[in-house]
Symmetry: C2
Subunit: 295 residues, 2 copies
Amino acid sequence: MAQLVVHPVGSYTFGSKPPKHEKDTSTQAKLERLKEKYAREGLRRSVEAVLVVHEHGHPHVLVLQMGAAFFRLPGGRLRPGEDEAEGMLRKLSSLLAPPAENMRPDWRIADVLGTWYRPNFENLMYPYCPPHISRPKEVRRLFLIALPERCYLSVPKNMRLVAVPLFEIYDNISRYGPVISSIPALLSRFSLTLAGRPPPAAAAAVAAAQATAAALVAAHQQQQQQAQQQQLVQYGQQHQPGQPGQQQKGGIAVSLSAPPAAAPQLAQPPQPQHPPAQYGYQQADEGLMVDFDDM
Amino acid sequence: MAQLVVHPVGSYTFGSKPPKHEKDTSTQAKLERLKEKYAREGLRRSVEAVLVVHEHGHPHVLVLQMGAAFFRLPGGRLRPGEDEAEGMLRKLSSLLAPPAENMRPDWRIADVLGTWYRPNFENLMYPYCPPHISRPKEVRRLFLIALPERCYLSVPKNMRLVAVPLFEIYDNISRYGPVISSIPALLSRFSLTLAGRPPPAAAAAVAAAQATAAALVAAHQQQQQQAQQQQLVQYGQQHQPGQPGQQQKGGIAVSLSAPPAAAPQLAQPPQPQHPPAQYGYQQADEGLMVDFDDM
């Protein structure tokens, strides 16, 4: 069985970089541009990256959020003739690598997760080429990326990087679309090792002891889930590339910052309604938000 | 990229064998039995097989149908301590191999497609172990099976073997459940070679020529889809194990039969509303039905 080692979200240091603006301001404009480009260049080939971290003992996928409700995976269009793997790394760097060349994460392509087809100049994509379609308009390859144990990630200022738990993504086409919401199934063939976690026996013992408490918490959280929807845990932290950072363990992300006197500290997340349990899943919200827009 | 060679459904010869009755007569009974067994033996490990064929240039998955609306993949529960791969082949043979030992198909496990978890004694399964669940009640592994170019398959008389196109399965949880309906996405990482098809260039030329006709047909078929729902293409053919069969090419399945004088011929499928096009997808129904119940 295929293996993947997944590291805690807290292993990574998040910063920001200048905004990357989308070329299109609407879905309509995007489809129009696709059509024009198709007439000139033919089939659009695109690539997207699935980056996995863990938190509270559950795998999370790093998703880029733009605006209130648009989610996308890091990736984009390949250049004509460009190699898929090379293009994937180029897109990852463009979207998530710190500007300083020597801080580029040592990420690598672990595997192909799937392939999606856009049969027409429309928003619908399918994980197969539908019958009668001999010339799809776009073919998109999903790659699983193996992240190193630690690295710096820089997010364009007009986007947010959100770690979304699998259980939130799963069967949630309405929010994340068919491609992202298929990721839990696509990852299920891997044996995921959640690095930095206690061995299973210890974890099981703790989990058993916490089961009763967890049930009470879950019931309570369900009530509060609506209220929490917008109370995403937000971190604002200026990324200063090239400046040796002080690693500061937060609950969720390790921040890269200038020395304490010179730079704002890691913003304090809103206090959780319940004290965090070390091994139980605690948050019923939609994702851990790493937010750089407010700086 | 992972490769899989897929053969036409017509390459396989379908027969029937004595019925295999389910141990449980209702979902409730099944969950009760799961609970009792869990108390004695702990975690239930199960395996399921994904067998892929093609027809009309589109991949189809072989699914067992029981009754009017219950679909399942071939597979089942492993014995305590049994190896997953061995158990998968045992279950496949039990459900689909002809009774004669020397006619056992040369199938092999090509890959792991995914893993599903049943956290509680309930019908819900997820492609991950949900948070707080340290002791799931069932873990189910999905295997992709590579079928040989030709073989005999025997189906228990109380079941039907249905070849369901990917586009019918996709995003159709209500009919097929979450596991089966995830198969199109799970298969999308494979480069499928549809064996016995003309080379892509020829296929593309034909497809282009047929595009206009196909659009008209599609519009017409949409109107007729409801009416066709129950008009499944049915084949009835007695399987006579050990008796050298005459291979008889039908439109969809190659039937194994005794010489013409001694056995019923391949049943004639209902005439399609439109003459079949060689490379375009023609049927808007839900699946090619290989049916042995009516014999």
